[in-house]
Amino acid sequence: MGVLIEVNNVRKVYYIGSLLNRRPVKAVDGVSLKVEEGRTHCIVGESGSGKSTLARIMALIEEPTAGSLNVFGVDSTKYFRRDLRSDERNFIRKNIQIVFQDPYSSLNPRKKVRDILAKPFKIHKISYNEDDLKKLLDDVGLEPPEDYLDKYPHQLSGGERQRVAIARALALLPKVIILDEPTAALDMSIKAQILDLLVKLKKQYNLTYVLISHEVPILTNICDDVTVMYYGKVVESGDCRIFKTPLHPYTIGLLNSVLIPSPESKTRNIFAIPGDPPSSTSVVSGCAFNPRCPLTSEICVKHEPELRDVGINHKVACHKCDQGVFERYEEYRDSIMRIWKEML
């Protein structure tokens, strides 16, 4: 299986504040990852982790400040400099699509579903007819399709809008769809439906997904590969087995923060990682997680850990983890949780 998108040490810096008092915000700070064909690659992180900026960079909507992407074998810098033949450019543009979190803002409120779905064909000058549009609506489970063609977004429910957004992304039969928090704004029962739809479409059209989400419980259902981000950096990555044996203290804490609905949950202790995530402009020396981490020592404050291999397809950016950690995994994990629980 080939690598479709390769992200190499990508950075994105924004500047905020006034002309005289400009401060940089590192939204994405040196991220590398590979998206393999046919997989669902999840990027997990909380607000401020830079995952949405990364999504936009991977969708080639935003240009990285530094670093580059290799998309279907083409260097992204060429794409952004408009240094490509138009057929190459169109090929890339057709094959990467993006679905956004908020179905209320991702559809133009002044356009009918018909026009929204026809847009991709018009842009790429592909001939289409009404049946193509109906087929798209049918694929995303909006039945009967003719009832939807002439509706405006405000006449649809949140779930229906998200389906239209997915249909639009699907129109050009892309290889990769980037899903930026596709279920975050939806009600619980709708989340499940949209997830089922995504699974179905992936099989039907041989899609590759990049799923950006903070909803850990949901993405565990469909993920193949995982990249965990904290404060603009990758802290842990690998295949979905890393959810079973998370190594980075942040990943461990994150997975333990899930509020599982169960009859006993009222009496069970609730765990929350102590402290606050760093604000976008704050500067943390060394490992960004060190102010909240139970394992912090001198080296964590002085040096920034690099992402390195610790197991088969398992990388982690932590000074305290090495290959040996798997041998005493439970002891390692429990000691982290114990120290945290004492802090709370």
Binding site: R56, A59, L60, I61, R89, N90, R93, K94, I96, Q97, I98, F100, Q101, D102, Y104, S105, S106, L107, N108, P109, R110, K111, K119, P120, I123, H124, H154, A165, R168, A169, L172
Partner: protein, 268 residues
């Protein structure tokens, strides 16, 4: 009675005013420019519905033609101003760049000088012909509107449907015209009606100061006559043109409010 709401009333009044303006020749009983030496300052009667001014001109006919002039100046200058504003606002909001930013700085300069004074000076320099008045008002009205359009564009271009269009490969021009512009239209319409009201007021003020095209009766000119007429009891010279002016301004101002209310996209 769903149709009977404030927007419908506003639109109906606007249309009514429009008809009055269009059919001024048929409605007005006299030529408003006609002065009659010995029929000055006649009170309202069945001969002169709203009386006459010091020069014996029929106030009713003057008001009818005045409405026409007001509408002509208001509509044309607002349309020109909004067209400029949309072009510049869209360009500088979406693309920024040297041209866009320079144009916005020009707008800032315009905004920093007392507008009415500039208009007076320019009209005096160019001579007060109706086309000059329209152009001058238009040229001094676009900067404010351009600012509003620009800020709207700045917010809309960050919306996700614009991102989605980019991801599909839309060209910038296409994004501006088919994704952003339709969403700025309510604002544009409302700005347009606001500028109409403003331009009508400006035109009258110019008339009041004696800067009007002599072939186009201005409500302001009649108000200037009223300045002296009321001291000799000619209240009708003041009252009727004032009412006409107030109605014109009110109708266009409230039309602007109602349009924004009605046309904003329903998101809920």
């Amino acid at each position: 009675m769903r149709w009977l709401n404030s927007l419908t009333i506003c639109v109906a009044l606007t249309l009514l005013l429009g008809i009055v303006g269009l059919l001024a020749d048929l409605i007005a009983p006299y030529d408003p420019l006609n002065t009659r030496m010995f029929r000055g300052l006649q009170p309202p009667s069945n001969v002169n519905l709203m009386g006459t001014d010091q020069l014996g001109r029929d106030v009713f006919s003057w008001v009818i033609y005045g409405i026409r002039t007001s509408l002509l100046v208001g509509l044309s200058s607002a349309t020109i101003a909004v067209a400029i504003a949309v072009l510049i606002g869209l360009l500088s909001g979406y693309r920024g760049g040297i041209i866009g930013n320079t144009l916005m700085r020009v707008a800032d300069v315009f905004l920093s000088i007392p507008r009415f004074m500039l208009i007076i000076v320019t009209v005096v320099l160019l001579s007060p012909r109706i086309s000059n008045i329209i152009l001058v008002i238009a040229i001094f009205s676009w900067p404010e509107a351009a600012r509003v359009v620009r800020s709207e564009v700045l917010s809309i271009k960050e919306r996700e449907y614009v991102m989605a269009a980019k991801a599909l490969g839309s060209r910038d021009l296409d994004i501006m015209v088919s994704e952003i512009l339709p969403n700025v239209i309510p604002t544009i319409l409302s700005l347009w009606t606001l500028i109409i009201a403003d331009a009508i007021l400006t035109e009258s003020a110019l008339g009041f100061l004696g800067l009007s095209d002599l072939n186009y009766p201005s409500l302001g000119v009649m108000l200037m006559m009223a300045k002296n007429a009321i001291f000799v009891g000619g209240w009708w010279v003041l009252l009727f043109p004032s009412i006409a002016l107030v109605i014109l301004i009110l109708v266009f101002n409230s039309l602007s409010d109602k349009l924004i209310e009605r046309l904003s996209p329903r998101l809920g």
